[in-house]
Symmetry: C2
Subunit: 259 residues, 2 copies
C-alpha cells in the first residue's frame, strides 16, 4: 500500500513547496521569528508543551535542523536532549524510562535528538533485543505518546530522509574537513553497510507509530535549506493551532501597588 | 574598603564602555556571533565547559539577558537551568545537591538563572536557615566552585545590578502590560520592601565569593542594551581565553573509506 509515508515513493531531494533557496530562506526566517514569539506565549501560559522528535540516519542533519530552525528561539524555554547509546543505569530499566525523564515541562519546547525510536531502529537492525520485545515496543510507544498527548503535550515527529548518495558525500566531508572531522565515527560506516535494513526498519516505524496524536512527517533532507524551511513550517503551524495565550490576570487592585 | 565590587559605588545606570545604544548593539551582535562560533568548537572539543551564573533581584533582567546574549547561540549545546524555591526532595539534601546535578556537561555552556547564591541571599534576608549555617555556606560555595574549576569548567558569575527606581518602573509595567502580567508575583512586593537587606546580602556575597577561579562581575543593568553588551563581552573574552580547538583526528586511512 503506497501511503503518504511510503519511503520508496518519497524523493529525498524534493524541495516542495519551495522552488528556490532564497524563497525557502525568507519563509524560514519568518517562521523562526513566529516560533520564537509563540514560544514566549507558551512559556507565559505555562500549561502545555511541544515535543519535537528528530530521527534520521547518520548525517541526515539532526543537529543542523536544531540550529537552523530553533536558533532564533534561543535556549530559554527550549531544551534539547540527545539520546546516545543507553548507559548501564538506563539499560537496567525499561526503554522508555530515560525518555520519560526528559519530556519537556509545561510551557516549554523539548527537542529530542534521536529518541525512543532508536529502540525500534538500531535495536531492530542489530538485533539488540528479542524480536518479540521489539514488536511490543511499537504499542508501548503509541501508548506512551498518548499519555503525553492527553497531558497537554503536542508531539511532532520528523524523519529526516536523505539519499544513500547524499550520505556518502556528507561522510566524505566529515572525514576530510578539519572542522568536521570530530563528527566522524568509524562506526557510522557499519551502519551505512546496513542501509537497506535501516530503511526497512524506518518504514515499519512509520507504519506502526504514525498516529493521530503523534504523527510522523517524512522530510526530504538532501537539501538542507528545504529541510529547515519545511520543518519550521510544520512547527509554526502546530504552535499556531495550540494558540497559547498570555494568562489573563488582574493586578489592578490597591493591594498590589508597588511600594 | 571600597573595592571594585562595592555596590554603593557602582551606578546601575552606567553604560561604559558604550556611549550609545547603537554602538552597544553592533558590539553585541558581533560578540553573540563569536560566542556561537566558539561554542561550536567547545562542543567539538568536548573536554571543558562554561558555567554562567546569573543573579539579581526581581526584574533585574535574568531572562532578558539569556535572550539577548545567547539567542544567537541557540539551544544546541546551551542549557538553561532555573532554580526556584527548593522542592521537598531538594530540601532533604544539602543546598548544593540540586546545583551539582545541573552543572553543564563537558562541551557545553550551562546558564544558571538564579543559583546556589539564593541560599545566601533570600535565605539570609528571610532567615530561612540558622545564621551559622549560612555563614558556612560561603566557604562551601567556594570549595564547590573550585571543584568545578579544577575539573575543566570555567565559571562566570554576573550580578545584574538595577536601581530601586528602575525596579519600581519594571514592576509597574508587569502589573499593567497584558503581555507581562504573567510575570508579576505579589510576593515580589515583599522582597522589594526588604530592598536594603537584599543589597546588604548581595554585598556580603560579593565580598565572600568572588574568587580567582569564579569571579563576580557586577553589571549595571538599568539599561538593558548596556547590560547585554557588557555580559556578551565578558563571555566572549572568557571563551577566547579557553580557546577550544576542533580535535585533530586522522581518518585518511583506507580502512575509513566510505563504502
Amino acid at each position: 500500500m503506497a501511503g503518504p509515508l511510503d519511503l520508496a515513493m518519497l524523493d529525498p531531494a524534493a524541495t516542495a513547496p519551495f522552488l528556490t533557496k532564497d524563497e525557502a530562506a525568507i519563509r524560514l526566517a519568518a517562521d523562526a521569528k513566529a516560533i520564537d514569539a509563540l514560544q514566549d506565549r507558551l512559556y507565559a501560559e505555562g500549561t502545555r508543551a511541544l515535543l519535537v522528535v528528530l530521527q534520521g540516519i547518520d548525517t541526515s542533519g539532526k543537529d543542523g535542523t536544531i540550529r537552523g530552525v530553533f536558533n532564533a528561539t534561543g535556549p530559554l524555554g527550549v531544551t534539547v536532549t540527545a539520546f546516545g547509546e543507553p548507559t548501564k543505569p538506563e539499560l537496567a530499566r525499561d526503554f522508555l524510562w530515560r525518555i520519560h525523564a526528559a519530556v519537556p515541562r509545561r510551557g516549554t519546547i523539548g527537542i529530542f535528538n534521536r529518541s525512543h525510536y532508536e529502540d525500534v531502529l538500531v535495536a531492530r537492525v542489530r538485533s539488540l533485543a528479542p524480536a518479540l520485545e521489539i514488536e511490543r515496543r511499537y504499542d508501548h510507544i503509541n501508548a506512551f505518546e498518548r499519555l503525553l498527548s492527553d497531558s497537554g503535550t503536542t508531539i511532532l515527529k520528523f524523519m529526516l530522509h536523505i539519499s544513500r548518495e547524499e550520505q556518502r558525500q556528507r561522510l566524505e566531508e566529515r572525514r576530510s574537513d578539519p572542522e568536521k572531522r570530530w563528527k566522524f565515527h568509524p562506526g557510522d560506516l557499519d551502519d551505512r553497510r546496513s542501509w537497506d535494513d535501516y530503511m526497512a526498519a524506518y518504514q515499519v516505524m512509520l507504519d506502526r507509530t504514525s498516529t493521530e496524536w503523534a504523527p510522523w512527517t517524512v522530510v526530504p533532507s538532501d537539501r538542507k535549506w528545504a529541510r529547515n524551511a519545511i520543518i519550521a513550517g510544520v512547527v509554526r503551524t502546530a504552535l499556531e493551532r495550540m494558540s497559547p495565550k498570555y494568562p489573563d490576570r488582574d493586578w489592578s487592585g490597591p493591594e498590589f501597588a508597588v511600594p
